[in-house]
């Protein structure tokens, strides 16, 4: 288990329980189960306590937790017959974006998402989930495909942001993002988006301009990273706690602002502690939304989607 900084007290207790049990395993006849169970109970209580009152900055850390389930885990668990489709037909295949045909509850769909990778090798291959223009152009192509054949689109958002690189800029990063967002607004099929970890700025919007936007309880969605915001507005990157607070980037605040439609509860201690439960919860939520959107006319889906964004911003946070 990878403990976050604010989980340190928990690490201590869980470590002690583990130590006790290890001792008992080597010394026959030693019974520590009672004490270890007491420690477990204490740890569980502490875990609930910590996760009940996560600050926005702590949520950012949870959202970026390396052991959190990633796009690939969701696709493998929730979809069948996943058939990845590659390339933007112009330049390259961007491995930061996964996408293809798949079945969800037997229904054919197009699934697209950012994949961050889960070890050094795959993280480099996936460019830490930071897409280049080719990634967005692949997504555009897949959305077009979905539109032509009437398949619902599910997008899974988990990116620190679009990749700020030389080649990415030369090949039109901004144009690619703009067109991807535009495509999201054009397709006459249900479009459901789930922010499963980090919803990083324009790189997220390009996939998450949807009929329904769902967020996991401890995921974040923001115009800029708290570190970036802190360095600009506070002139000090170390003020990321304050910036995270001010940006209102938590799922709970975004729901109040009317920017997202639903918050999906995570297992106790976050998705990283029980990936299977988190994935199942996401699956259930996607199923519910797809069911609601099923049978709606293409024009209605487009119109509703646009109206939702046109109306956005009329709701502030109550003081």
């Amino acid at each position: 288990m990878n403990y976050l900084e604010f989980e340190k007290p928990l690490a201590e207790i869980e470590g002690k329980a583990e130590e006790l049990r290890a001792m008992a395993r080597t010394n026959d006849g030693m019974d520590v189960e009672k004490e270890a169970a007491a420690l477990d109970k204490k740890a569980a209580a502490l875990l609930s306590e910590i996760y009940k009152g996560l600050t926005p900055w702590q949520k950012c850390q949870v959202a970026r937790h390396p052991e959190r389930p990633h796009c690939r885990d969701y696709i493998e668990a929730l979809f069948t017959e996943f058939t990845p489709l590659a390339g933007d037909r112009n330049f390259a295949d961007d491995h930061a974006v996964m996408g293809g045909l798949a079945r969800f509850d037997d229904m054919p769909v197009v699934v697209i998402g950012h994949e961050k990778g889960n070890d050094t090798k795959s993280r480099i291959e996936r460019n830490f989930g930071m897409a280049r223009p080719e990634g967005y152009r692949k997504a555009i192509r897949l959305m077009d495909l979905a539109h032509r054949f009437g398949l619902p689109v599910v997008t899974l958002v988990d990116t620190p942001g679009a990749y700020p690189g030389k080649g990415a800029e030369e090949r039109g990063q901004s144009e690619a993002i703009a067109r991807s967002t535009a495509k999201c607004l054009e397709i006459g099929v249900p479009l459901v988006s789930v922010v499963i970890g980090e919803g990083g700025s324009g790189g997220a919007v390009a996939f998450a301009t949807a009929n329904k936007v769902l967020m996991l309880e401890h995921s974040i969605y923001s115009v800029i990273s708290p570190e970036g915001c802190a360095s600009i507005l506070w002139k000090d990157a170390e003020k990321m706690r304050e910036a995270a607070e001010a940006l209102r980037l938590t799922a709970q605040d975004l729901l109040k602002l009317g920017v997202i439609d639903q918050v999906i509860a995570e297992p106790k201690g976050g998705a990283q502690r029980d990936p299977q439960a988190a994935i199942a919860a996401v699956g259930k939520a996607i199923g519910g939304v797809l069911k609601d959107l099923k049978g709606k006319k293409p024009e209605k889906l487009v119109k509703d989607r646009r109206q939702k964004y046109l109306d956005m911003g009329s709701k502030g946070l109550a003081a």
């Binding site: 067109r179 967002t181 700025s201 324009g202 919007v205 600009i232 506070w234």
Partner: protein, 319 residues
């Protein structure tokens, strides 16, 4: 991603602060150092008479030069919530906003107007870099939507001059949501079969470039304008190498196929007229300085829906 700080060049700031002081009649060109007399500079549309460096120009000054006889009618923009997130960094957002409004005399960073340009009726929008770095907040989104709706109603082309450091961080996610919102405005124009021309001016960056500023039917930039998604400093930090000379400047983007043209500010009006008249199937225009059009015979009829933007009751005549 430090979108704003990268481009807020101290030079430009000093230019603006200098213009606040009426007794300062001279402006030093930040590029070549020539001292320029204020009237001469204004006559040359804030372009250095020695080195052709394009300095920032306010939307009003731009419109005064763009519309025949300097006559235009401002289009009303729905006022957004003043501080939806109750954002506070080192200062409160409402204080920053009020300061910007006081300094510029404008309500927000985007001005929209209707009028005739080379006897060609258009709707135009211009972004004001001196208003909180032109950043894209809800007012900007509302202005683009108001402009597009007005253009659709009057069946006129829409010309947009972009200039922004990126998103308005103090409006957090609602600033980010102007990417889809402005994209919908562009789609309204496209669906109505109306030309949408973007003139990218220095600097156009971040979420602005990654939405409405890259979706024009024709994309024109002013010389040497910085146009990018991620700023040069962010990229240098990411890839740890020096970027080539002229990287992300208008001419560089033209070379990389991201723009149609790079055009001098003084030649912009004629060029826009030429292009728009061809796109809308009108005969060639009479070029050059034209007197103001006769007062409109049709005092614009009242808008059908209450949400539609209304033309300002009286014109802002500028000589």
């Amino acid at each position: 991603m430090n979108w704003i700080s990268n481009y807020v060049r101290p030079k430009i700031n000093s230019l603006f602060s200098r213009r606040e002081v009426p007794e300062n009649l001279w402006t030093k060109c930040p590029e070549c150092g020539t001292m320029l007399f204020h009237r001469e500079l204004a006559d040359n549309l804030n372009v250095c008479t020695t080195c052709d460096h394009h300095m920032a120009i306010t939307p009003r000054a731009r419109f005064a030069a763009l519309f025949d006889g300097g006559v235009f009618h401002e289009i009303a923009v729905t006022e957004p919530l003043p501080d939806p997130l109750q954002f506070r960094d080192q200062k409160r957002y409402p204080d920053r906003l009020r300061a910007a409004q006081r300094e510029t005399g404008e309500k927000g960073a985007m001005l929209v107007a209707e009028g005739e340009m080379g006897r060609t009726p258009i709707v135009a929008a211009a972004q004001d870099f001196s208003f909180m770095a032109g950043s894209m907040g809800m007012q900007v989104g509302n202005a683009i939507i108001a402009g597009a709706q007005r253009a659709v109603k009057l069946k006129r082309p829409f010309v947009l001059f972009s200039a922004a450091g990126g998103a308005r961080m103090q409006e957090g996610i609602l600033s980010l949501m102007q990417m889809p919102r402005s994209t919908i405005a562009v789609q309204m124009l496209k669906e109505a079969g109306l030309p949408y021309i973007v003139v990218l001016t220095h600097p156009t960056t971040g979420g602005v470039t990654a939405s409405y500023a890259m979706l024009g039917d024709v994309q024109i930039a002013e010389p040497n304008a910085l146009i990018c998604f991620a700023g040069p400093r962010v990229i240098e930090q990411t890839i740890r190498e020096k970027l080539p000379e002229g990287f992300q400047r208008a001419e560089y983007l033209l070379d990389h196929g991201m723009l149609d043209r790079v055009t001098h500010r003084k030649a912009m009006k004629d060029e826009l007229v030429t292009i728009l008249r061809m796109l809308t199937g009108q005969p060639p225009a009479v070029k050059g300085e034209l007197p103001s059009p006769p007062e409109p015979a049709e005092p614009d009829a009242a808008p059908e829906q209450s949400s539609a933007p209304e033309p300002a009751p009286k014109g802002d005549a500028k000589a």
